[in-house]
Symmetry: C2
Subunit: 217 residues, 2 copies
């Protein structure tokens, strides 16, 4: 494994970047098990089988490591949840797609402890500072995205006019959090099938063909 | 503070029980900050200013302490959330009351890190064993209670006949989890006011008079 020190690059920059990304990917996984606070340069070095000094070359402090881990979790979430939703037609279809993409993200078991941000939000609640702010910013942006999809669906008259985009975003974020909590507790994909149907019923769209999720890995 | 050893009671049994309860109350609070895994006899002794041997007299092992902590959290939840709901008229009023009692529980800031069970569920996800099972049992019983209130409301035709009690219980548990996550992240009672209105809108009942919550402490 890469063990370069800052200012003394023994490998091209692209390799260092790749190593950094591998480290952060492991850090995101570990944080869903032991928490962002449980994440230390020592634990991470042990999990990766590399030296602590190798890690210090990438991250100068625990907080820097935590912030970089939140950013990497954000990139994973963007690729697995946000991008599939944005690929759907604007409006109601995006609203269903963003929830389905979240349930698929859980079903794929990308991370051992379920949704990184659901856990990080509760863990960081009593720990004011830049890490909590970054998690809160992410959470706010995600609910804002759901709200934007809901507002588009309302403009296109795909939802009853009495619906409120703020209320609906709150509810759908809630269904997403309930799915995460129940899936993490019971490790049962039936929870995700139920969540997919709850979303459809709530939004007045036809029930899902539930064998679709079976292909996920 | 009480420092009795098992088999050598220096105080009457009632005092030992009271001490045990004070210890567990602190353990529940600490667990909402550092997690159930972060709870150790050493940390707890430090927080309480008593000796580790005094704690070992009450709890023989970390697992025993964790299980007793989950049970104590269950008693707090029963008193602050379940009992106020059961005091409301059966049906729709209980459905609103259980959500309101949960939001009041958060607003009262009974525990520093918000809902004990929301955090414990995500934390214990990757840790199979009796502690996870007890948390899951509690979570399942709570959703079952919401379902029972929903079924009663349906029998009394207080909700549209197309509603499904399982779906509705999933959604309301989700609104509760979203309120906890947002309140923990933003420490803003506006989140709870919004959650109270979201519940009412979802159930088709009149909006709440929101100054009611201002008396809470």
């Amino acid at each position: 494994m890469d063990d370069e020190a800052p200012g003394l690059p023994r490998r091209p920059r692209a390799d260092g970047q790749r190593t950094r990304q591998l480290i952060l990917r492991e850090a995101v996984s570990l944080a869903t098990v032991d928490g962002l606070e449980g994440l230390s340069i020592g634990n991470l070095a042990k999990a990766l089988g590399i030296s602590k000094s190798g890690l210090y070359a990438h991250f100068g402090s625990k907080q820097e490591l935590q912030l970089a881990t939140v950013d990497e979790a954000g990139r994973i979430f963007q690729a697995e949840v946000v991008e599939p939703a944005l690929a759907a037609p604007a409006g109601l279809a995006q609203l269903v797609a963003v929830c389905d993409a979240f349930f698929d993200h859980l079903q794929r078991r990308t991370l051992p402890g379920g949704c990184f941000f659901a856990g990080a939000a509760l863990e960081m609640g009593t720990r004011p500072g830049p890490v909590k702010e970054r998690v809160a910013g992410f959470q706010g942006a995600f609910v804002g995205l759901i709200r934007q999809f809901a507002a588009a669906a309302l403009r296109q008259q795909q939802l009853p006019a009495a619906e409120d985009p703020d209320f609906l975003a709150f509810e759908l974020n809630g269904i997403i959090l309930a799915a995460d909590t129940n899936f993490v507790l019971h490790d049962d994909t039936g929870v995700l099938d139920l969540a997919r149907q709850v979303v459809r019923r709530r939004l007045g769209v036809a029930p899902a063909q539930l064998d679709a999720g079976d292909d996920l890995r």
